[in-house]
Symmetry: C2
Subunit: 349 residues, 2 copies
DNA sequence: ATTAGCAGTCAATAATGCCGACTGCTAACG
DNA sequence: CGTTAGCAGTCGGCATTATTGACTGCTAAT
């Protein structure tokens, strides 16, 4: 679609602009990249690229800036999204230190992705629209106050305080949970509700609480997430002084509308890049989004990196791809699935 | 220390500046406040206030801006920190909707305080340097993978995945936790470590994990906290364009050094205000901090609101004071303490 | 002690001119 | 015919200057 030399020049423009955040001149290109032609030729090519909409100029006699279309072309030509070995080692080292804690994994992953990509990262908790019951436990706190601990499929823990009508000894509470656990095990909330059981008042209260917790859990999509590196957004020259940045920050803080940014057509283990005005939300029109999914069909989470359209796509995509695989393995363990997913290489849409 | 009229003028200056974020002129004061004197007199008083360091001027022929000393005086004259009844009702309504969940309480409280005070709010999880064991539970996840659920005093829940040497049936896991629970109940990690018990390898592994979790839990001070309303910082005109704001944001995001901002001398149920350069941390020299404590001796948490020195102190102090009492009640319930704390009125330092 | 009035100060804004970074074009070149 | 050197033209950015208007500080009258 673009002849090789033109493509090479466009990619050089994008690379330089990503690094320097300033319009690129024809001279700069021949100086910094090995194009083998003179600046005049580059100017001719740039005129063509501008005409075709791959780049634009802030004003008549200015250097060129990649447009969304230009970035899209650039991203399409990228390949080899493996992280440097040193970084891979660093990551696996850090993960060994927080062995065995889902929340720590996600929080750590968000922190690392954010640091590696120098942008804001969000990771949503693996989520399934119909959680399965795994285990419950009742712990007496004080008088008639009882802590209900609920373990869902995938080692997800929920808690809820219950106020009982009368004080109940711990031994009886334990007996109740011991009785309910085998009955509820492996069922989702609809199935639990449908059970025809002969229950005491107390047991009914507990069942109601369990169902309610599961309902809330199933209901929240992008509400539960780990957010890291908001300050990188502010560091970006294109954001530091604008009104836009504020709207984006607010969206991030409330997680509202984060879901709407995700395009529906995304297969697992594939990294999708949404550039600038391709975003559905108006506020994110000068942002790019790199989105990965992880987990299993029964519990999928999303990794996303948000930054200005001028972001280091290769690094970002590599980070997201790496963690997509890593977290998928971890979640597979939690859900007792042994299928090892094919890994190693992903390519953006 | 300041004669009544001078004090009244100073407070008028502070009030106006808090509302408008612009230097106040003598004319504006006589127009907007009922001072009963002419602008010339106000100018004379302002000259005095400037000489004494309560206010300063950005340049020679400019209006006046309160200094930290001026704010300090202003805060000292404030009284009546009750929230409007409508807001109190709104709060108790919202809290009824998330009955029984500590994490939701704190998260909600941070959100409300932030909204009410139009500034950034942080609430730390109630914390004690030597947590007490309450209950543990082992849930088989898959093969030899087991989820250890640990409940600490105060309904705090921790989780950890364990990889066992062999696969162990759920019934045996339940038996183990049933055996360990009465042994550990009410003890802190040192006491648990000191127990001379005859344990199997498996039980030893579990004990080690329990102690390690408790150790980590006891170790982290301000790490666990709920942060809300960072975008308010960016909205403030004094922050929107500065380098400072970035440093503050970074500090907030990493929670580092948040602890160092808290003055040590603070009694429970008392709200402390730290103004501008009174802050120990250099980065926070144009910030003010309103700090409240809540909880019990055995589990105290901190509420803090951070914003520019030009913040609506009355509203902020009232919000913090209100939630200090509210959360104290809730925590007291969790810890099985029935002492109702004397409430209603607090005054800042 | 208070006040009116006036002179003086200084930031903010607009207007102007200059510099330099780039491009677009044209004509020459291989 | 693609490529290149060179030059004219454009426009943002920066520094300089002028103008305005919002305040104060001072002084003299009340």
């Amino acid at each position: 679609m673009l002849n090789p030399r033109t493509g090479k020049i466009l990619n050089s423009i994008v690379n330089w602009y990503i690094d320097h955040a300033m319009p690129v001149s024809s001279q700069t290109l021949v100086r910094d990249y090995d194009l083998g032609v003179s600046s005049a030729t580059v100017r001719n090519e740039m005129a063509f690229l501008e005409q075709e909409g791959y780049i634009f100029r802030p004003h008549t006699s200015a250097g060129s800036v990649p447009s969304d279309k230009g970035y899209r072309f650039y991203v399409g030509t990228l390949e080899d999204f493996t992280l440097p070995v040193s970084e891979q080692r660093m990551i696996s080292h850090l993960f060994h230190q927080v062995e065995g804690r889902l929340d720590e994994w996600l929080s750590l992953a968000a922190a690392i992705i954010s640091r590696l990509s120098q942008n804001t990262a969000v990771i949503t908790v693996p989520h399934h629209p119909a959680s399965q019951f795994r285990h419950t436990e009742l712990v007496s706190i004080q008088d008639n106050l009882v802590l209900l601990v609920l373990v869902l499929q995938g080692a997800r823990i929920k808690q809820q305080l219950l106020t009982l009508e009368h004080q109940v000894p711990q031994s009886e509470l334990s007996a109740i949970s011991a009785r309910l656990n085998p009955l509820f095990g492996g069922l989702n909330r609809a199935q639990i509700s449908d059970l025809k059981l002969d229950l005491s008042d107390l047991e009914r209260q507990i069942l109601a609480a369990v169902v309610k917790i599961m309902q809330q859990e199933d209901g929240q999509g992008y509400n539960q997430s780990y957010l890291e590196g908001m300050h990188f957004l502010l560091n970006q020259p294109e954001f530091s002084h604008s009104e836009r940045s504020l709207a984006v920050m607010e969206m991030l803080e409330h997680r509202t509308a984060l879901g709407t940014l995700i395009p529906q057509t995304q297969e697992k283990e594939q990294v999708v890049v949404v550039i600038g005005s391709e975003n559905k939300a108006e506020v994110a029109h000068n942002c790019s989004l790199v989105i990965g999914r992880y987990g299993l069909d029964e519990a999928a989470g999303t990794i996303m990196v948000l930054g200005p359209t001028r972001m280091p796509y290769r690094r970002v995509i590599a980070s997201v791809a790496h963690f997509s695989v890593l977290l998928s393995h971890l979640v597979a363990d939690l859900y007792g699935v042994n299928t090892f997913l094919e890994t190693d290489k992903e390519s953006p849409k």
